[in-house]
């Protein structure tokens, strides 16, 4: 089977595999709960939050046993800085789909659905930059090469229909994703924070990210049969890359790529690379 059609088939199969998970994620929190949260936010932007409130939040982070109350709490805290919505998610790379990577969904109703449906993650400068930097950043500081493309400006423009005009993002290391980000959104055209507020929000965003990772993978994933390199090669194979393209990307020889794929197939006990990608995704060893 040519690789391109194999990949198309794989994506179809994966779509079927991941479906229920997506639904589950979209259901957390449900739309009405989300609305309520926004309504209940004690909006006191401009009034400095005291550090003790931040420390209390950090303590609470460890106590949550599911994502929904953590999201609600984080939204409430972010509301103190004028942020009304947030998403906490793995950053899609190499054509990965956003939906299965989302851990906390606090976007306005309709926006996430549209964002996924139209595959905005592939063109949205904020999303792209989230995978390219390890530093927290204001959305308005995303480099022009990413932010001022026609497609990215279109996304930003459409977001305003949902009350999202500016924001601040905090990237962090993730064990299952390339990296993750928590992105706070504001209805104001230009959100600004003092240095102190920025430090408070980065502290809370980072610890919320850490708490989510600990939640989603309680006691960590099943023992991962695959080496990091095998997962990486599978990930790129799943994105439709050829042996030599993968070799170029990872800086290794084509034969080494083939060797990793062969090892991965043997470990997963499947005959083809397509099956290996599907099986590895099902076991969450990779997230295509």
């Amino acid at each position: 089977m040519p690789l391109a059609s194999a990949c198309a088939q794989m994506r179809r199969l994966l779509g079927a595999t991941i479906g229920p998970k997506e639904l589950h994620l979209l259901a957390i929190p449900n739309a009405s709960a989300r609305g309520n949260v926004s309504m209940r936010v004690n909006h006191k932007a401009g009034v400095p939050m005291i550090d003790a409130d931040v420390f209390a939040f950090l303590e609470r982070c460890d106590s949550y046993t599911s994502p929904a109350p953590l999201l609600e709490d984080l939204l409430q805290m972010a509301g103190n800085f004028g942020f009304t919505h947030l998403i906490l998610s793995g950053v899609p790379m190499a054509g990965q789909r956003l939906a299965p990577m989302v851990e906390l969904m606090g976007w306005p109703e309709g926006w996430f659905e549209r964002y996924c449906q139209r595959e905005y993650a592939k063109v949205d400068g904020v999303c792209l930059y989230s995978g390219q930097t390890t530093r927290p950043f204001y959305w308005h500081d995303v480099p022009d090469r990413l932010a001022s493309t026609k497609a990215s400006r279109l996304v930003a423009n459409e977001a305003t229909e949902f009350g999202i005009r500016s924001g601040f993002a905090v990237p962090f290391l993730s064990i299952h994703h390339w990296q993750s980000v928590v992105s706070f959104a504001s209805p104001e055209p230009d959100c600004r924070m003092s240095d102190r507020e920025k430090a408070q929000l980065v502290t809370m965003g980072t610890m919320a990210g850490a708490a989510v990772e600990a939640l989603v993978y309680p006691n960590t994933p099943p023992p991962n049969l695959l080496t990091d390199r095998e997962r990486e090669v599978l990930l790129w194979a799943g994105a439709g890359k050829t042996y030599s393209e993968i070799g170029d990307i990872l800086g290794i020889a084509d034969d080494t790529v083939k060797k990793h794929l062969k090892n991965a197939r043997e470990k997963l006990d499947v005959a083809t690379t397509v099956q290996a990608v599907i099986q590895a995704a099902r076991l969450r060893f990779i997230s295509p």
Binding site: D51, V54, F55, L58, D62, T134, R135, P136, V170, P171, F172, L173, S174, I175, W178, S180, D195, K198, A199, Q200, V202, T203, T206, M207, G209, A210, A211, E213, A214, Y217, N219, T220, P221, P223, N224, L225, T227, D228, R229, R231, E232, L250, G251
Partner: protein, 217 residues
């Protein structure tokens, strides 16, 4: 999988080449890439905390140092106590022989993507193994907020000492991790191993001096 060698002043002579490579790699990363410190003419990075009190863990793979870090008892002068005490406004600067400051974590830049992160996980596992075997109760220090979730993903308990702060565009936070049997078990589960990563060659000095252990007992 890496082997992690425990290097102290008393057995450093066994690691002349590796230790020199370690200092050069520190220079590449902390001076040239991060610009934390001024360039050194000899291309080695050494600071005021590289004393006999320091213990180094060097992760070696195929004869090369691919990852490393430094541990210092917090009752000795250390980076947080001397340079960043204001990062500990919530719980104060730790000053305990059984709490080690963990600094100068480094992973070779020629490793890419997931491979690089896997090496970091192996180093973290080795730090936990070493800390547990030496009777420490916590390890930690100042780190980029970006890396903090890594510890939680290993199932570890992370205790921030205060608020993150921005230094030259990057955010740092001081946090300590509980050293427990369970923490080691969890890190090993993530790596899918059940064996030791540590190698101890030549003379070794206990991390907590004997007389302090006695006093504690």
């Amino acid at each position: 999988m890496i082997s992690v060698h425990v290097v102290q002043s008393c057995n450093r002579h066994l690691y002349e080449r590796e230790f020199d490579e370690f200092l050069r790699r520190r220079h590449d990363y902390f001076v040239k890439k991060k610009r934390w410190r001024p360039e050194s003419p000899d291309g080695r990075e050494i600071d005021q905390f590289d004393t006999d009190a320091a213990t180094y863990l060097l992760g070696i793979e195929d004869g090369r140092v691919v990852t490393s870090c430094r541990l210092i008892p917090t009752n000795e002068p250390h980076l947080v106590s001397e340079v960043f005490p204001d990062f500990c406004e919530m719980h104060g600067v730790p000053r305990r022989p059984d709490w080690a400051e963990w600094t100068r974590t480094f992973v070779a830049t020629e490793q890419h993507g997931l491979g690089r992160r896997g090496t970091l996980t192996q180093l973290c596992c080795a730090v936990m193994e070493y800390a547990l075997s030496e009777g420490l109760t916590a390890v930690g220090g100042i780190q980029e907020t970006y890396f903090l979730p890594q510890h939680k993903m290993l199932g570890w308990t992370v205790r921030p000492m205060g608020m993150a702060r921005e230094v030259n565009g990057e955010f740092y936070i001081v946090a300590y991790i509980d050293v427990t049997e369970e923490a080691l078990k969890r890190a090993r589960r993530v790596l899918g191993i059940d064996h030791s990563l540590l190698v101890r060659r030549g003379e070794q000095r206990p991390f907590i001096p004997f007389e302090r252990l006695e006093r504690r007992a």
